[in-house]
Amino acid sequence: MSVVTDPARPAVAPEAPKSVRRRRSSGFNSVSPREKVARYLLLVFVLLITIGPFLWQLSTSLKGSGEDIYTRIPRLLPAQPTFDHYKEVTDTIPVWDYARNSLVVAFLVVGGNVIGASLAGFALSRLQFRGRKIVLGLFLATLVLPGEVTIISQYVTVREFGLANTLFGVALPGMIGALNVLLMYNAFRSLPVEVDQAAVVDGANAWQRFLYIGLPSVRGTISVVAIFAFIGAWDDFLWPLIVLTDPNKYTLTVGLQYLSGTFSNNPRLIAAGTMIAFIPIVIVFATLQRFFFKGVEEGAVKG
């Protein structure tokens, strides 16, 4: 496998005499070739475990109807690759409508969290006001409460607003998450106070300080909040399952569950449906992963 050996350092056993401790001789930062090979072997092994099931599902979704998917010797590559099952799924069930519904909910949740959480996070960390500590305590206290505990009365609240069985009702409660407010609070707090004081001397008001000093310095955390909000909304299952009763309004996850009941005798179709829900989120994450991992290094996920 080409990944295992680095051309600059072929995987040949080092010629150093055995009495020399390799760990010392090779320096602390460099990795000995043997360790490198072992590490890559392990990495590939874990890769198979984490990615394998997705590949298997992708392969099933592409296998022709005449192909035996139950064969005892599993074939990863389809013998008669076809997109027919994708077409059949989208013809029978309004998958694109589900995807659009999921997208609407996800955008509402991302927008709400990015705006609401950064405004509140900024005020709580950069502005002095009476009651600040109490408000902060309230946000912290809700973290102890698992969302599922209040999901029923949340539904009652949404129903009282006349939003049961609407996409807006699905998005609404998650539009400003307490955890996101705290993440933004943490991010803004790492900015030195002197910067604020200098801006005040220059005559900047709170709003200007938020826009021109605060926001540009917390981009990493904002992207983590946005990515997590998007993924959370797109993947959520229980809440839309409770709120939505009309099949036309289903989001992708609820629609998929409905689909799996309809096509339980044809794994190829279910596989095609799951891939339609899975591929967009993977693309979103793969494109934004460098912001995500940067945000992690900035400390946004330390909890």
Partner: protein, 292 residues
């Protein structure tokens, strides 16, 4: 020092505060109120006193759900505290292509639980990948009923949860590993400690706080399990409804004409106390360890 008018901070905080009050605090109070009623999903209902709580005591499905939750937690805890740490150590070193591996290991976290559960449903099917391979290798003579046997179904869902959680906790450990001083590792290496001893005596103590935090996260999320069991059991909760989780019961009572939001709220209160216990135990453990 104040640099702003008194109401400016409130203008910024109020949207988030309103959300907190309307969608977090009020629902927690309302859950308690609802638990004394027989409110219906479509509306209506009246005060019924302690009736819901009396029903709880004799609810056989709840007993199974609680047992399943405890098993779920006990099995998930060791695997998800240890394996992700090993993974984090593996991806910590910045080898060429490591970003690809980190991203790939995180993929199961990014995918919806519904998607991964449907994928596993197919892999664990009577004629699926696992049974097919095992039969081919002659390990088993007939297919193992991963999705229809009460205990195998629970075990399948647990493995799915562990598999899906690996990347998530790996990332948290990775952030924590960055804070373990390299000097400590170097000093230990100079003293002749091998990789294993350094892992046990430098890495583990260095991420101890994170480990406790992660144990709390694992326990609470194991007790809150829903999608994995729901999808793998086809929404039925296994044979005789013995593979339900507490959240699955809450969901069942939240719908249809048979639904009872009052009873669902009483179940929610049970869920709250169930999740608070591991939090308190582990937080206390943390404090005691910090004093020692």
């Amino acid at each position: 020092m104040r640099y702003n008018r008194w109401f400016t901070p409130w203008v910024l905080v109020i949207p988030a505060l309103v959300w907190l009050l309307v969608f977090n605090l009020w629902p927690s109070i309302n859950t308690v109120i609802l638990s004394f009623t027989n409110a219906k999903p479509i509306g209506g209902g009246h005060f019924v006193g302690l009736k819901n709580f009396e029903t709880l005591l004799h609810d056989e499905q709840l007993r199974w759900a609680l047992l399943n939750s405890v098993i779920y937690m006990v099995v998930c805890l060791p695997f998800l505290t240890v394996l992700p740490l090993l993974l984090a150590v593996l991806v910590e070193k910045k080898l060429p292509g490591i970003t690809f591996f980190r991203t790939a290991f995180y993929t199961p976290v990014v995918a919806s639980a519904v998607v991964v559960a449907l994928i596993w449903q197919w892999i664990l099917d009577d004629r699926g990948l696992v049974n097919g391979l095992a039969e081919k290798l002659g390990v088993i003579s007939g297919p193992l009923p991963f999705l229809s046997d009460q205990w195998l179904l629970l075990l399948s869902a647990i493995s799915l949860t562990i598999w899906k959680g690996l990347g998530y906790y790996m990332i948290i450990y990775l952030a924590a590993l960055g804070n373990v001083g390299r000097e400590l590792h170097e000093a230990a290496a100079v003293d002749g400690a091998g990789p294993l001893r350094r892992f046990v005596h430098v890495t583990i103590p260095g991420v101890r706080g994170t480990m406790i935090l992660i144990s709390i996260l694992i326990s609470v999320s194991a007790l809150r399990v829903f999608s994995e069991l729901f999808i793998l059991s086809g929404g039925k909760g296994g044979p005789g409804g013995r593979d339900n989780s507490v959240v699955m019961l809450i969901q069942q009572y939240s719908q249809g004409f048979e639904g009872n939001l009052g009873y669902a709220s009483a179940l929610s209160i049970v869920l709250f106390f169930v999740t608070v216990v591991p939090m308190l135990v582990l937080a206390r453990l943390n404090r005691r360890g910090a004093e020692a």
